[in-house]
Subunit: 309 residues, 2 copies
């Protein structure tokens, strides 16, 4: 595969509290603010609390999920009195960290999240983002405390609804399992490790290091599965089965148990072999998602280094 | 020790959703409502969603913590326009399940809770409640899936602020770890097991069985420990240390690590030997409690059987 040259990364943003009750990112960003600006050498870091009102209230969001507000359509819609707080805040963040898709945008936006699912460290980035894929490879090769995986967003950039899409490059770092509204030291340490390695990588990249390409394993979303629900009340009638609970990224086969009803019956999986993730994520009950299913794909990525001007 | 005769238990209440985002109890109560009334034989069961608005919103409470509203002082205070929703609801529940301290009160109130702490099954009851202590002994002797412990409330009944104090006898069943707003099948199964054994015990008791007394181990609250906080902002500056996290009911000794600051330093315990519990309970951040500390006490309880009229 060819070798790619990318522009140096001079302006980074590290965001936490995009969901106000995901506390590892909130405290990692607050800690980052205590760092001296010159500690980063070749680049600047903006440490951003994305949704300060939701952080203050320790809620995911106040009016609507901020991390679904960054499509080009929503970012270019006029603001009126009826515009929810989070859409207004998305416009502010777009001015501060973007504008999305422009040459003024941050070189890298790194958004920190937690999940109640047993996901370890999970990077989410766009399929066309070679820097994101290299960051994943770099973090994975150096992390022993917990598995590191990558979910690839198979979307056009304009359609990407999440905050990290404001940058020229972007990645979400999801770390779990952690209850929302709680901070666990183990999960915080994993997130800090992923964040520190991200900053190390950028420093090395800017300094002229070549990052070898090769094969990486990634997960691509196929479909989502809802909880069984009462057809009249829409209330859930089952929990994730104990065998699937905490088994994110473990191959799900036809006939495997996926739900246990509240009266004790087991419901089996009837689809094709796929990998579950975001299993029993707290915030997805309202989105009618019990878990996502994806396929595992081996990608070949090019080697990269900085483009010298 | 003497033998005690207690009145039969003819009216029981099983309550869930006292905290609206503790989902095991919510779904256990909804499941219980599907049971035929005659299935319980010698007693009736009222299945109560204690805080329906908070359950609907999937929040702990709307205005104030319902499970702190059942002191005699609050239950006898006049209701005005400024009275919070939960205090009004406590008055309703007092009419329905009490009145507290009266002969019309439910014979047993069993209140179902979850915690983000690694508490397994934890019964909480009043020090003078022999039925509660026998229920604990009965559940503990029969449960192998997870440890069963008891926290004894060392209070006068009039001062007890929690819902189960409405009944002539009362117990809270706390099951964890489970994130609030999430339902895990394993935790639900533990709660169902504790609840089913409670109903079994009442049926046996009413039928004339003698329950032998003997020694039981209980925990009694000594003091609570707050997170380290920034003196100016009052924000927490540390998480529970990984060695203490998930180690509820494991003896804490002077010199053991208890906190890890967000910059990575370890803070050691400097008090006397005690047992921690409710370690990193989500809802206690706002109450400024990182964990409780209690002493372990061996109690001798009398044998009991039903008083025949």
């Amino acid at each position: 595969m060819e070798h790619l040259f990318l522009q140096p990364f001079s302006r980074l943003a590290v965001c936490g509290g995009t969901h106000g009750n995901e506390l590892s990112g909130v405290y990692a960003v607050k800690e980052l603010r205590k760092t001296q600006p010159d500690q980063f050498g070749s680049f600047s870091v903006a440490a951003v609390i994305s949704n300060p009102r939701a952080v203050e209230a320790c809620r995911r969001y106040m009016e609507t999920d901020l991390n679904r507000c960054f499509t080009e359509a929503l970012l270019s819609a006029p603001v009126t009195d009826a515009t929810p707080y989070e859409v207004r805040r998305a416009h502010e963040l777009n001015s501060q960290l973007g504008p999305k898709g422009s040459r003024d945008a941050m070189d890298l936006v790194c958004d920190l999240h937690n999940t109640t699912a047993n996901m370890g460290i999970c990077i989410i980035c766009l399929n066309s983002d070679w820097a994101g894929l290299h960051l994943y490879k770099y973090i994975q090769e150096r992390t022993t405390a917990t598995p590191v995986r990558l979910i690839l967003l198979d979307l056009a950039p304009s359609e990407v609804y999440s905050l990290e899409s404001l940058g020229k490059h972007g990645l979400s770092i999801e770390v779990g399992p952690q209850p929302h509204g709680v901070i666990r030291a183990d999960i915080y340490n994993w997130m800090k490790e992923a964040l520190d390695r991200t900053l190390d990588w950028v420093q090395s990249f800017n300094s002229g290091a070549t990052f070898e390409g090769g094969e990486v394993e990634v997960y691509i979303h196929e479909r989502s599965v809802d909880y069984p629900r009462d057809p009249e009340t829409q209330e859930i009638t089952a929990a994730i089965h104990p065998q699937l609970q905490d088994s994110d990224f473990t191959l799900l086969r036809p006939g495997d148990p996926i739900f246990q009803t509240f009266s004790g019956e087991t419901i089996l999986y009837a689809g094709k072999e796929l990998y579950p993730y975001f299993v029993n994520e707290c915030a997805y009950y309202e989105k009618k998602i019990a878990f996502h299913l994806g396929r595992k794909v081996t990608m070949n990525i090019p080697s990269i280094s900085v483009k010298k001007n």
